[in-house]
């Protein structure tokens, strides 16, 4: 057995596997407003990130996503409690001073805040928060930037554009900070005209850098092996976008659950096939090769599989016992869907099955002189 297949052999897992796992968990979360499975999914992502994240700078992004989801929950509660009349129930928590609003607008400002409204908002916010955390986990474990290396050949140009955008965005922020600091040197402190003054040098700088980058890429052979056959390019584009459309409709059909059946799995499958054919046809026209791609071996299958199992179990359970996923009353204790919870626990397995992160290189003295010293001392 090759070393890549061992789950104990330290290496970076293919980022695609992490994204599949996380997307599957996010899909599972999207099908229920029951806080029990949602919280479970959240805990699963946090645990796996804690167990398998690397020391790379993006690995800390999970915390940022977690904070963002907390903000989402809080904003949701505030808006629902303060602005909406529809969700209010009989259990009044407190009454705020109210502003009169037109009676049939469904809006209010202040007034009665009920437990039902707050809980409802909390649960709905929790769903969004869980999905955000899934994305955060994927980004922390296999950064989006690393994933972009695996964009299929047919979409290579789009991938490059994304990578460049990812580099340029932080660069723009640094530039803006630098120029702002420089304006202070001219004796300006903000004001209305300062935006234009800021924009000019920053945009000029960005433009200049883009031109430099384009020159560098051209000089290094970008696009040299791509043949410019118009027909095949058109066909590829048509197939890929047709496939993408199919996938979108299919995913919507599957996740929505209320749409007609043809919109679900069949549409998804045909979209995937169409897209795959397009990518294959398009991939043939690029003569690019890939340097040191991460292998896709047993651990990748296991990680992606565990996510899929979690998602499928939740979907099946939703189908079998829908009552477990809908709260009878907002204030009742939420039911515990056993099968779904078991499935979500399968999603925890990558904490064990993904290969551990390689540790930092052990510094060695010049040609092991320390060791020989020690031997001499012992002798």
């Amino acid at each position: 057995m090759r070393a890549e297949h061992l789950v104990t052999y330290p290496r970076n897992l293919h980022p695609g596997a992490w994204w599949l796992w996380a997307v599957a968990l996010a899909a599972a979360a999207s099908r229920t407003a029951n806080p029990v499975p949602l919280l479970l999914i959240l805990v699963v992502t946090a645990f796996v990130v804690a167990a398998r994240r690397s020391s790379a700078p993006w690995a800390s992004s999970y915390v940022a996503f977690l904070k963002l989801s907390l903000v989402v929950v809080v904003v949701r509660i505030l808006l629902q409690a303060l602005l909406s009349t529809g969700a209010q129930g009989p259990t009044v928590l407190f009454t705020l001073p109210a502003l009169p609003m037109p009676a049939n607008s469904g809006l209010k400002l202040g007034g009665v805040v009920s437990l039902e409204a707050v809980l409802q908002a909390l649960y709905e916010g929790l769903q969004l928060a869980t999905i955000l955390c899934c994305v955060g986990a994927a980004n922390a474990l296999g950064s989006a930037r690393r994933l972009l290396r695996y964009v299929p050949g047919a979409l290579y140009e789009i991938g490059v554009a994304c990578v460049i955008a990812l580099t340029f965005a932080p660069q723009l922020v640094t530039d803006a900070a630098r120029v702002r600091a420089a304006h202070r040197l001219r004796g300006r402190n903000g004001g209305l005209g300062s935006l234009r003054r800021l924009a000019m040098p920053v945009l000029e700088g960005a433009l200049e850098r883009s031109v430099d980058l384009a020159a560098a890429m051209d000089a290094r052979g970008y696009g040299r092996t791509t043949d410019a056959d118009r027909v095949s390019r058109r066909v590829t584009a048509l197939l890929v976008f047709g496939g993408l459309l199919g996938v979108c409709i299919g995913v919507y059909g599957l996740l929505d659950g209320t749409a007609s059946t043809w919109m679900g799995a069949p549409m998804l499958a045909s979209g995937v096939v169409l897209g795959a054919v397009g990518l294959h046809v398009g991939g043939r026209r690029t003569g690019r090769t890939r340097y040191r791609p991460d292998p896709w071996a047993l651990p990748e299958w296991l990680v992606a599989g565990s996510g899929t199992v979690a998602a499928v179990t939740v979907f099946v359970d939703v189908h079998l016992s829908p009552a477990d996923f809908v709260l009878a009353g907002v204030t009742d204790a939420p039911p515990v869907p056993l099968l779904a919870c078991l499935g979500i626990f399968v999603g925890l397995l990558p904490a064990l099955l993904a290969p551990p992160q390689p540790g930092p290189a052990i510094p060695r003295g010049p040609t092991g002189s320390h060791r020989s010293d020690r031997v001499e001392v012992v002798a």
Binding site: P201, D212, D218, R220, G221, R224, R288, Y291
Partner: protein, 548 residues
């Protein structure tokens, strides 16, 4: 390897050609140095070699450029990627990926080389350029010297026969520059690569060059020959060549070693002249009386997050003196300047400028006490013309209309007012930025790397300007890597390392003994304390006046 026949370049909507009638043949394994003033067409010449001119830039190319048998008329830059490796001025803006290894592999991926070849070449290149320890790091985290080596490595992996570099050392401190140049020399000597590079700081590279191509600009014919031939009477020359001219050595020496072997008689002629007494007489540079203290910091600590960039620095700057701040990249020079101008708040310790705390001043008030020209002078500029820029500056500084323009006219007399600041040369842009910050006559002037991209002529002009300002009573602190500039203009040198000041003293005392910071003349004439060719020339004039 490279042949140019009657090459001329005219950019779109330009009246005159940038280059015309260039005939050049550069053989295999040569290191050719392209010199010339800013804007003379050096970069254009380099960019014709891999077809970026005219395929990428537009414009018209006359004549033929043939590299390794491929004509750039029929080959686009990407078709020459396996023959010519081109490294642009700013390595960071040419990086496509963010990790060192991926960057090295990028060119090969584009050419579609097989995976095992790529793997092997990346490892070889990592070793060749000494980048093995940083292979997994993001390129943005590397030092400037390492970034430059990554940029060179990234084009080397396609095994080009020609390497073209546009000012590879302009942003580097002296030691990092030497690292890069040593690498280039190794490539020429061990691999027989043909290297063509443009550089302003001739003193760093000319000794390695087999051939010098002088691009005089304005479409005048290009001069090409051995370094000695070309530099004997070129308008741009490193200090060691100028010293050779002053001393009347023929052929002129190109390296400190050559000069030192010729310098015995000169040293004995100069033995009785005392460089420091002359400087004392001139007064401007090393006034014996300390001027009024304009700025002071005591036990200053500045930290970014939890990393201290400046650790416990105490120093004072007095009026009428130019002080140079030296040290390797990342030693804390820029941070110290920022603290003096109040851009960063001290974590502990104090900063005082003109008796005030700069970080508490409002920008409008700050301008009257301290001026700073940032590393990129263009950051200060935004107006569509020089004239408007000056008017805005008057309003910002609340001074009489026309003040900024008057300052600018003194620094840079011949620039038309309707010109766009972007179209100015580096030197003129620096003058404009200087005039803007000087309009309110602040007693303290800070400059961060002012000579980046300046040619010798512009540098001479800057030296005059700085001397003038010091004479008018400004205190000037300039952070720079340029040892020759320091030798010309600074009275005192502060050397920083790891955020601390490790040396502080008169220029001659600090730099002469330092291998990295000594100017060429000092190296040639050590142990005597001469710093610039001009000093030597004046001393020689004195002695010859006295002798008869």
């Amino acid at each position: 390897m490279i042949e140019m026949h009657g090459v001329g370049v005219t950019y779109a909507d330009a009246d005159a050609p940038v280059l015309s009638g260039v005939d050049l043949a550069i053989g295999e394994g040569e290191l050719a140095l392209v010199v010339g003033r800013t804007g003379s067409g050096k970069s254009t010449l380099l960019r014709t070699l891999n077809g970026l001119v005219p395929h990428f830039s537009g414009g018209t190319l006359h004549g033929r450029v043939v590299v390794d048998g491929r004509d750039t008329r029929t080959h686009r830059p990407r078709d020459l990627a396996d023959v010519v490796g081109y490294v642009g001025q700013d390595p960071l803006s040419g990086f496509v990926t963010d990790a060192v290894e991926d960057e090295l592999a990028y060119g090969m991926e584009s050419l579609g080389l097989p995976a095992d070849t790529m793997r092997k070449r990346v490892e070889e290149t990592l070793d060749l350029l000494g980048l093995a320890e940083v292979r997994g790091r993001p390129v943005a985290d590397l030092s400037a010297g390492q970034q430059q080596r990554v940029a060179i490595g990234a084009v080397l992996t396609t095994h080009p026969r020609v390497l073209v570099l546009d000012e590879p050392t302009s942003a580097l401190d002296p030691l990092a520059a030497e690292e890069v140049l040593a690498t280039l020399q190794r490539l020429v000597h061990d691999l027989g690569l043909t290297v063509v590079l443009a550089e302003h700081r001739l003193e760093r590279v000319v000794q390695y060059a087999d051939r010098v191509v002088l691009v005089p600009g304005d479409g005048r014919p290009v001069v090409d020959g051995t370094p000695v031939e070309v530099l004997s009477d070129s308008p741009v020359a490193p200090p060691v060549v100028e010293l050779g001219r002053v001393a009347g050595w023929r052929p002129v020496p190109l390296s400190v070693r050559d000069a030192r072997r010729l310098a015995g008689p000169l040293r004995s002629r100069l033995a009785h002249a005392d460089p420091s007494s002359r400087r004392a007489r001139e007064g401007a540079r090393e006034g014996t009386s300390e001027g009024r203290t304009v700025a002071a910091c005591a036990d200053l600590v500045v930290s970014y997050r939890r990393v201290p960039a400046v650790r416990g620095v105490s120093a004072r700057l007095s009026a009428g003196k130019v002080v140079a701040l030296m040290g390797r990249n990342g030693a804390g020079k820029s941070t110290l300047l920022k603290a003096l101008v109040g851009m960063v708040k001290p974590a502990s310790g104090t900063v005082e400028v003109d008796g005030l705390v700069p970080s508490r001043l409002r920008p409008g008030a700050l301008l009257r006490h301290v001026a700073m020209v940032p590393q990129v002078p263009a950051d200060l500029l935004y107006a569509p013309s020089v004239g408007l820029e000056c008017e805005h500056a008057d309003r910002d500084a609340r001074v009489r209309p026309g003040t900024t323009l008057a300052v600018f006219r003194r620094l840079s007399p011949a620039v038309p007012l309707e010109q766009h600041p972007r179209d100015l040369s580096e030197g003129q842009r620096l003058s404009l930025a200087l005039s803007i910050v000087l309009a309110a006559r602040p007693p303290l002037l800070l400059l961060d790397e002012p000579t980046r991209g300046l040619d010798y002529t512009a540098k001479h002009r800057l030296v005059e300007i700085l001397r003038d300002l010091a004479e008018q009573g400004h205190a000037v602190l300039l952070a720079t890597h340029d040892v020759e500039l320091v030798a010309e203009v600074a009275a005192r040198v502060l050397v920083m390392a790891e955020g601390e000041i490790v040396a502080d003293g008169r220029t001659a005392d600090v730099v002469v003994s330092s291998p990295a910071f000594a100017p060429q003349v000092a190296k040639v004439l050590a142990p005597q304390h001469w710093l610039t060719p001009t000093e030597v020339a004046l001393a020689l004039a004195d002695t010859s006046a006295v002798t008869p």
